[in-house]
Symmetry: D2
Subunit: 333 residues, 4 copies
């Protein structure tokens, strides 16, 4: 039973079906009929005009967005444990041509205006220091923590006041919305987010993420940047098909609710071991090395996450009984 990663999960049958249905001849790149529907479909979802590009990875979606928001000589405030800082192999430096990540602290890998101010207030307003141009936050965060609409509102207002652009890494945006029970807009665009890397791959997709511009004027340059980065696939209709199928009947939301519920099931059985409140589909727990080994011997797979700690990830297809079984196995340690 795998609790390793939502990247390890299979592709949802509806996504397969949509891809198969796209297997007709159509115009190459993003000139196909499906890609042409993305803007409208996401605009409906977010209750405002959007421009949307598919990309093959969240790395690319995040970094194309950042390149549109920040000049090469600028800086981006993010959490010191943000994925773009820690786990994207320096991709932001590549796409932005060397813009600098300015690292802020924050509980649960979440930023606050105070934490951001603590980093950028000391920056001298001169050419010797890299000036902040944008903020990047992750919804849900790298520790599975969710920004509430109120928290987002405060960050958005601060960004606006400081004339900073705001990007959201939404690798697990669906899980955040599922947790909040609010509209997608309330979890993002309504509070001044300029760009969102809306993740679908971890949530039942195969190879398509959505880069959403809430300021559609930025999308024109993004299309050039996407091509230039080798991200413009020639059979793009299979990319668009994945995204559209995930929006159909809110599949993205159902999948995320399922994964969150499984995480809740698991967390509920081991409250005393939890290292973080479980708000999305990641469960961080205290577990000694022998305990972890014992669980693995029972067929559970998962990653260590520092010393005496592990991470379990639940997926759109994690069975409730498997989560319960894992919870019991932990309780029995």
């Amino acid at each position: 039973m795998q609790f390793l990663s939502d990247n390890a999960a299979p592709v949802h049958p509806a996504v397969w079906a949509a891809m198969a249905a796209a297997d007709d001849t159509d115009r190459p790149y993003d000139a196909d009929a499906l890609s042409a529907r993305l803007d409208e479909r996401f605009s409906l979802l977010f209750e405002q005009e959007c421009a949307v590009l598919w990309t093959s990875t969240g790395t690319a979606a995040n970094c194309i967005a950042l390149a549109c928001l920040v000049p090469p000589y600028g800086g981006i405030v993010c959490h010191s444990e943000a994925h773009i800082e820690v786990d994207e192999g320096g991709a932001p430096g590549f796409f932005t041509h060397g813009a600098k990540l300015l690292l802020a602290p924050g509980e649960g890998a979440k930023l606050t205006p105070q934490a951001i101010a603590q980093i950028i207030d000391p920056v001298r307003d001169d050419v010797h220091q890299v000036q902040p141009h944008a903020i990047a936050i992750t919804q849900a965060s790298e520790y599975g923590q969710v920004y509430t609409p109120g928290e987002l509102h405060r960050i958005g207002a601060y960004a606006n006041m400081r004339k900073l652009r705001l990007h959201m890494d939404g690798a697990r945006f669906a899980n955040a919305v599922a947790y909040l029970g609010c509209s997608p807009a309330q979890a993002s665009a309504a509070h001044g987010v300029d760009t969102l890397a809306f993740g679908f791959i971890k949530n039942g997709g195969m190879s398509a993420e959505a880069l959403v511009f809430f300021d559609p004027s930025l999308a024109a340059q993004a299309r050039y940047r996407r091509k230039r980065a080798g991200q413009l696939q020639s059979k793009g209709r299979f990319m668009a098909a994945q995204l559209l199928s995930m929006l159909e009947a809110d599949l993205w939301l159902h999948n995320a609710r399922h994964a969150n519920a499984a995480a809740g099931e698991l967390a509920g059985g081991a409250r005393d071991r939890l290292l973080r409140k479980v708000e999305a589909n990641e469960v961080f727990m205290t577990l000694s090395a022998p305990e972890a080994a014992a669980l693995r011997a029972q067929g559970f797979s998962f990653y260590d996450w520092g010393e005496n700690a592990v991470r379990f990830v639940t997926c759109w297809n994690t069975r409730a009984e498997d989560a319960a079984a894992l919870a019991r196995a932990i309780a029995a340690l």
Copy 2:
């Protein structure tokens, strides 16, 4: 009936089947069991040790290769009509951090040692001029022309003599091999090619190209560059599955032979209009605007290719009778 682009063609059933079979849980990124088999499988095909990475576009495969071969301050000799010069949105400049394309002439978009020498001999050996570090050729060329083993041998020997690296853009490498009737190695690696972007997408694949290193020592840096470029997909097993299925029972070669044969059928019916000898799956013809319109009115789709000229592309699934019908329609103009 579409003769627009091999990018517009559907995905081969065997590729679909392989992807479906990969829809098991496996480790993310390229740590899956299928990705692990690529090096060995391609080494068999090319009869020498290879290291192979999947990428989502030929653009990325070409440009990651070039970035491994050439420093940012270096130059790459290519044909003035090469895809990397004309149609990749400046991607080589992005991936190589500004290396320069040095443009050489040549019949049929093919290079010769003489044409290359004509461009690089006048380069002064000083820091004011960008020095050549590599040669990039396209097999088959942008005009569907194929380098013979003899021609490759001469280019490879010249590259070696001038201490230049040699990259091959093989977007239609399969069609070239099908035409030559030689081994894949004889159409590439045997003559000093360092890196090959082996195209599968135009030939029945969906979204996976193979970046092949005949000098495997270059692959380590390529893996970092791929990640950094947002090309390392989290469900990489679906990428590897595509490539492996195309190698199975030489599907790549069968598909290419089929496409080439259809092109031959079409060309055979309109010899007097041919602008180029037809060696792969592209047919360039003289056609006036009214003639082109007449064909389109009959349901044939294709691109204009300059004034009074058009390009027809045949695919792995182009029906012989459709090619024949097009040939007859042209003859009847």
Copy 3:
């Protein structure tokens, strides 16, 4: 007697004097009193508001300007023999992060709207091709040819119509103005030039060029780009001093007139050998290898410039009698 390069000439005594006078303690970088006067002083000269930065080379001035005008994914139309294409070691690719030079033809290394259109009209308006964002011209050109106000006006109007920015490489701008006998503005800014790399080093300076922004709103980012490129010298007062001394009593113009006159003297004595009309301080002549050797044996230094051709450059300090002596020596060949 050196006719090798205006870069080989000495520094003008007035420049030395100004540098010596700046050898007081002052604030570092560009916070000194002299640097603070540049904007005003050049605004007077160009009869409009300017923002001015010193740089240590024309390469840096040109390339910082281009980076301000063109995004990394954009293109810059220039002459195929422009210095930025041929002799700056790929610097434009470095500063712009890979923007592409789009090469146009033109007599005497000068561009016309027609030549520019010939290059950019065929560019398809799609992401697969690099779109033009700016034009770069050289005043005087690499062959010592000068754009008249009328020619500039036509290029400026064309740039405006096509929404392209306009940069002027003015390594020998002074010589062009001296030739035209017009105001500096009429040779540049009055016709829509956005940025000018105004050269002083070849004209009696030591190490300071002026990067002039006729659209001062661009200067803010240029200051960050200059620092980031390692061009912000810590004792910047010596840079500003050079520029200010050259503007004092129009020293720049006097020096250029002197050099032009010497070139005229030289050209006048060898009309039948001239390869180009002599408009600035460069004289291109037909000369066989033995003839060149004979001249060198008499103590004249100069560069070969292709087969059976040479280039003589006159300087602010070239003595009229030396130019005349060279003319006589050539006549006597």
Copy 4:
């Protein structure tokens, strides 16, 4: 009396004299007779073969060196308060094409093998994380602290063991050598330093720093990188002249000893206020805002350095009596 910055100090008369003596006609760029002597002259100084390039700033010297040592996808370990991290406007990101600075802690802005290990040991050896390729240290550090030969030896051995390259930012290398009383080699090259940005501008120069390669095989690419960065001045002989004059009769060392002595004089009069041991020419002191204001009212200029702290810098021309006067003024506060 200025204690603001050694960048604010005048140019030494011997440097002026050398520049004046270079004001003869010579070949442009670095083809002049003086530039040709640099390698030999510095090789003598460092008692081993060196290759040396002049640059116009320490920023450029540091960053060209780093670009030679580290690929774009690599990382450079430096102190979190290193100049390249804090005060070079993101220049390392520009020159290296986005390589990442990995920030280590350390007393007095100095690194130790332990501090470096603390940062790089947790880096997973996979493509998701930027791998360290080099270490950059500052001699003397940003807080005026000097690495002893023993400390350097330990860092060099560690770098060697971890296969990391080692760069030294020597903006105040002269002051470090003056303090140590050892040979220049013992303060750098003897312990595995690959590249040194040897600073002269703060020490009586005008606009030339020396980029020293103790591994001369790296210098070839550096020459291309320097040109491409717009750092190859056309009248380079004035750059070489500055460096050669500073080496003449160990002027660099005399100047540094003088500055250090003045710093010692100043520090000696205010031991109780010192924030750092004074090893070079920087004196960091506790001083309240009113106290600082009082000193400034007496004509002393200096920078605040955080809250209730200031930095005094002494220069090659700081008069002993001025340092003493400042010490007395502080004592009298």
